[in-house]
């Protein structure tokens, strides 16, 4: 993917830049709001990563508002040291698509970037079914089949699986699952998400020969279709 990174802190910038490049992305960078805005308007990106606080009079929110004002719908991920809930809401209200608070784990950022990039592609027609490998989800009847065999899932388990399938091949973090599947924005002390994923695995992976839901150490989970 072609990504624009606007971040003034050189350490964070080079850290993110290196990580994104290693993950196979093509990254342009800017260290101030003015250059950032210039690039964001002039070039075509799949994703823009914006720091909220930038030197030079133009901050992340200004860039975001200008882009949205020009009907530019490139997915934008906001990066900020402001963790207050209100700040997050402000950022999302201004047209941001996701929000990551500093300090962050790179795996979290990468997972969210890739989730956003994917979303940008299939925003077209609403699907009625999802298929990954031998797993298929009927979104209308809420029916799940794997290799022709029907799997009974609770409504929440269905949503969890649906999220994983929509992001098949991508790492999704625990925080992402808590935010997107449960719509919760707090930091649970215990392993609530792990338990729910492991329950899902009991139903989706255990009765079958190969597992499709995998744990990614220090990051989260990935749903990888079986090769057949």
């Amino acid at each position: 993917m072609r990504i624009l990174l606007v971040e003034d802190d050189p350490t964070v910038r080079s850290f993110v830049l290196k990580g994104l490049k290693e993950a196979g992305h093509n990254v342009d960078q800017a260290d101030n709001g003015k250059d950032g805005l210039y690039l964001a308007i002039g070039e075509k990106y799949d994703i823009i990563i914006l720091d909220r606080m930038l030197p030079g009079g133009i901050d992340g929110l200004n860039i975001l508002e200008t882009l949205r004002g020009q009907k530019n719908n490139t997915p934008v991920l906001l990066l900020s040291a402001l963790s207050e809930v209100d700040d997050r809401v402000d950022g999302l209200r201004a047209g941001g698509d996701d929000y990551v608070t500093k300090p962050f784990a790179f795996s979290e950022l990468l997972a969210r970037v890739e989730a956003l990039g994917r979303r940008g592609h299939n925003d077209s027609a609403p699907e009625t079914s999802l298929t990954v490998g031998d797993l298929s989800l009927d979104l209308l009847s809420r029916e799940v089949r794997r290799g022709g065999q029907k799997i009974d899932l609770q409504p929440r388990e269905f949503r969890l699986l649906e999220f994983l399938v929509r992001h098949a091949g991508q790492v999704v973090t625990r925080t992402m699952l808590l935010e997107k599947v449960w719509d919760y924005h707090f930091d649970p002390q215990t392993n609530v998400i792990d338990v729910h994923v492991s329950r899902l695995r009991q139903k989706v992976d255990k009765p079958f020969e190969t597992a499709i839901i995998h744990t990614v150490r220090n990051a989260g989970y990935i749903l990888r279709p079986t090769q057949d």
Partner: protein, 504 residues
Amino acid sequence: MTEDRSLPRRRRFRWRPGRPGGKRGRWPIRSAGINFALGYGVLFLISATLFLSFIWWSSTNLLNQHVRAFIETDAQELQKRWTYGGAPALGDAITDRLEQNIDDDALYLLTDRHGRRLAGNLPGWPVAIKRMDHFYELTIRRYTFTTPAEFKAYNLPHGFRLIVGHDIRGRTLLSTVITRTVIWCAVMIALLAVGGALVVRDLFRRMVGSIARTASAVASGDLNHRITLTGSETDLVAETVNTMLDRINRLMEGVRQVSNAIAHDLRTPITRARNQLEEALFSATSPDELRTAVDRAIGDLDHITGIFEALLRIAQIEAGSRRSAFTMVDLNQLLTNMAELYEASAEDAGLRLHLDTRPLPPLHGDERMLQQALANLLDNAIKFSPPDSTLTLKAHPVPSIAPSGHPAPENGPAGVEISVRDQGPGMNDADILRAHERFFRAESARNTPGSGLGLSLVQAVTSLHHGRLTLTQAHPGLKVTLFLPLTQEAEQASRSVSLTEGSS
């Protein structure tokens, strides 16, 4: 926080000082005490004058009536004498009366048809008396002085005429007495007003002084100073100021706790991370060892970040700014979803999560904060529960309490009570008292992971909703109860309850 709702609404007096150079003159006296006493004096003077005027009016009236009645009866008596013995008898009677009249206030005149004086002590027919059977009030000259007198003239047969009159200088005396009283009153009132002004000013100063002393003590750093309540009207101000000071004190205490905590609880993991990295730098022999050390250091840093976030969040909640995010929250939905989220973790830990809720009314609050608070409680309960025990998440509406102290279900519920109960080791009474302090961890909990901020956050969220957080021993285990009021009145009621609890 803005406890603005709790204050009784008071009318705001707007005092517009005269603009300098403006046309309206400004009242020169600034002292409230003197103004008060002046106003009081003027009011007293006016009422005394009114009162004395009434006495003057009613007593002169009475005197007049009395005099007139006397004149009429006297005249009738004399006319009878005329019928018995004619002019000579009447003249004798008049002379008799004058001789017996010790007060020297009776006035008579008897004239014949030519107007000649036959008897009486009036020198001649007064020019003013023209009509018969009509009362006249005239000023006449007697001996050396003039005096007011009341007269009535009567026609007798054969052209004879009679005047009966009465000297009413008593009335003059009365008026002198009353005038003197008024003057003395004025003098005394003036003295009282001045004295009162001094006393009132002193009172005012003393009332205000107590508040001012406390305020200046606080300004110079002694936050424990409070205004003594005297039972007077200034108590309203005093109480408000005291409440404000309590709040400032709590906030300051919070800041102090946080700085202590930062010094202590943040230094520990930072030191640990630093040591690990340093050790790895000097003594790691393989990339794997180095990696493990870095990994652990990252874990420690994440832990520190978590503490920071929790602290900031608590501070933000306590500042009360989040009330702007209040919406109507469906607690039924919130509890069900929360139970669903945690039911799995409970089961994973070998526990049963029992959800016991009655239908709850919607609550005006911050949904995310309530979720967070509940999550903290459930996290804690799961953490401290022994295997194969039961957690209970219970919620029910609390009926209103009528002023009589009996439940008043017709007023609708006063609030909502949500409780989480575990069957873990529980806490002893001393720990329960300290449980909501920041970074407090019971001795028995030292070995479990955690920062000691969970309950502080729950406490902050509860206060944000004007609620009450209570920890009770459940034998076995601990029961944490949140009471969240639904309405303003309930808020105030709960506050007064918690105040009385605090003072006992």
